[in-house]
Symmetry: C2
Subunit: 324 residues, 2 copies
């Protein structure tokens, strides 16, 4: 499949996900009023819809033939994802999200918290339709997001954060939902337990790669995303390039890096990058990205060729190329 064709097919899927989301918000706004409208504004303001896209593709990959079967779960993960963004933005005091003003910024913290709760509720309502094992997957995933977020808060500006700490946080918060989405979609399609477990791993690997690319983009910048460079460093988030450099550097350079991270401002950016390059930390992170993507690709290779497999491969390549 050519790149252009893959990109067009994914765009069409994205549009049908967006239209599902729009319908849901319209229906719910009629019932629940402002809380649904405000939550809807953030939900519909944009977003790559990567989680639901992966859900639909994995469903097809494992033999599913009727998207309506998997759509509620796909939408559920997008709602839960947006719920965590709404609550994160309160904690990070962010003014905008997906180019729109955040809810807490427009309507106060109380409404921000409640609107996030409402999005969680909707996600669970959709996920709950499946009962049994699927409910367990969604619940465990969401509970792990919460414990990972606790851990992340504990490691803000913690210069001794280890790679193990980092991966535990990323596997809970970012990669876990990708993994749960893929596992759930496979089970709904009627996959074997082994296939579902492998696809859970696939989602995890892709999710880790995704976060590592985010970490790189926070340092080298990302014109396409419109996200300001250095946001993580400003928030004291210990990204992998920082953790790597703090581990590898020593003496004056290690001390200086610690100072820069602990009291960062934009004027220190060049020096930060100099020190990260001294430790080859960005290259190291890029290597990790490729390792995780390769593992994800190897899992895909176990499946017979199909349109959905090619589109999942295209998504993998896209994760790798976000900063190119």
């Amino acid at each position: 499949m050519e790149e252009g064709e893959a990109s067009e097919l994914l765009e069409a899927m994205r549009m049908s996900i967006n239209s599902e989301l729009k319908t849901l918000i319209d229906e719910q706004s009629a019932i629940h009023g402002e809380v649904a409208t405000r939550a809807g504004e953030i939900l519909l303001a944009g977003g790559k819809r990567l989680r639901p896209l992966m859900g639909l593709l994995v469903y097809e990959l494992t033999g599913g033939v009727d998207f309506d079967e998997v759509l509620p779960l796909a939408i559920a993960f997008e709602m839960v994802h947006t719920a965590t963004l709404v609550h994160d933005d309160i904690n990070d005091e962010a003014a905008t999200r997906r180019g729109s003003p955040t809810i807490h910024q427009q309507a106060g913290t109380a409404k921000g918290i409640i609107a996030g709760d409402w999005l969680f509720v909707q996600g669970f309502g959709l996920g709950g339709q499946y009962g049994g094992k699927l409910v367990e997957i969604v619940t465990n995933c969401c509970a792990r997001i919460a414990s990972a977020e606790f851990s992340q808060l504990d490691h803000v500006l913690d210069l001794s954060t280890s790679p193990e700490d980092y991966f535990e946080i990323v596997e809970g918060k970012t990669a876990g939902p990708f993994s749960a989405m893929c596992e759930g979609a496979a089970l709904i399609a009627g996959s074997t337990d082994e296939q579902a477990t492998n696809l859970a791993r696939f989602g995890m690997e892709l999710g880790i790669a995704f976060q590592l690319v985010d970490d790189i983009l926070d340092i080298i910048g990302d014109k396409r995303m419109g996200k300001p460079r250095g946001a993580d460093v400003h928030e004291g988030k210990m990204t992998l390039p920082l953790i790597h450099a703090l581990t590898l550097l020593h003496g004056d350079e290690r001390r200086r890096l610690g100072e820069i991270i602990s009291d960062f401002d934009d004027s220190l950016f060049d020096e930060l990058i100099y020190l990260l390059n001294r430790a080859d930390s960005i290259s190291y992170t890029e290597i990790l990205v490729n390792n995780h993507l390769e593992r994800a690709a190897n899992i895909l290779d176990e499946f017979p060729d199909s349109k959905s497999k090619q589109l999942l491969r295209y998504l993998l390549n896209n994760v790798a190329n976000r900063h190119s």
Copy 2:
């Protein structure tokens, strides 16, 4: 059944609910660490367990014979209830809850928000076990809590809040969960749809009465609860006695009442009570309490006599007598 016996039986049920909650938190703390521990501290710090108690009793009333069938739902409603308390306490800047320091007070707003989310997740995981209609009941209930909270925020210090506004908020936020608990428990026990609908109404009536008593206690005080008098007035919450007095008084008295509510401090308490008595607002609210309890009792009367029916009657009387 004598009062002493009813009280003992309910206490035994309360203890078994508490022990279920304790087991759950111990298990989850081993997996999810601090977020579960902190949420557990609030969950286990006390509480009347009125929602789960009603769930167990309604289940038995409608022919259920194995509490294990209904316990996950009963526990789910207690988790969701506690989740809303944790998030409310952030919005109200409350320092303590159930005699313990609030999570946000101890560990910051971010952890408070996330711990509340975690409690929601646990509630949904438990409720989700039932699938189908039960998931719908829990989801609608929780979504209505959120929209009612939005409405409540919009009516803070709004002197033109109508009784209709008030009852919409109370039915969503306080009484809705009682109603959903009763409806769900009846369905799990295998009740007819008509019985379930009637018991949903029973829960709603009891919940409204419960909130109206709370409104009265906020003004006349409640030694047993240890809750400071006037908390609602300080927060600008428009309780029914205030709404009633604002509607009935006119001229200087109405103007003065508006001033007192808009800029309340404890030195104004006697004057507030004087004005509420001028409008007979506390007596009026007491009459409403009795009306709602009577409607609840009438629904109970449709069921044949049983131990659970007597205990539910005892709970009803208890709601009425909380301030005596």
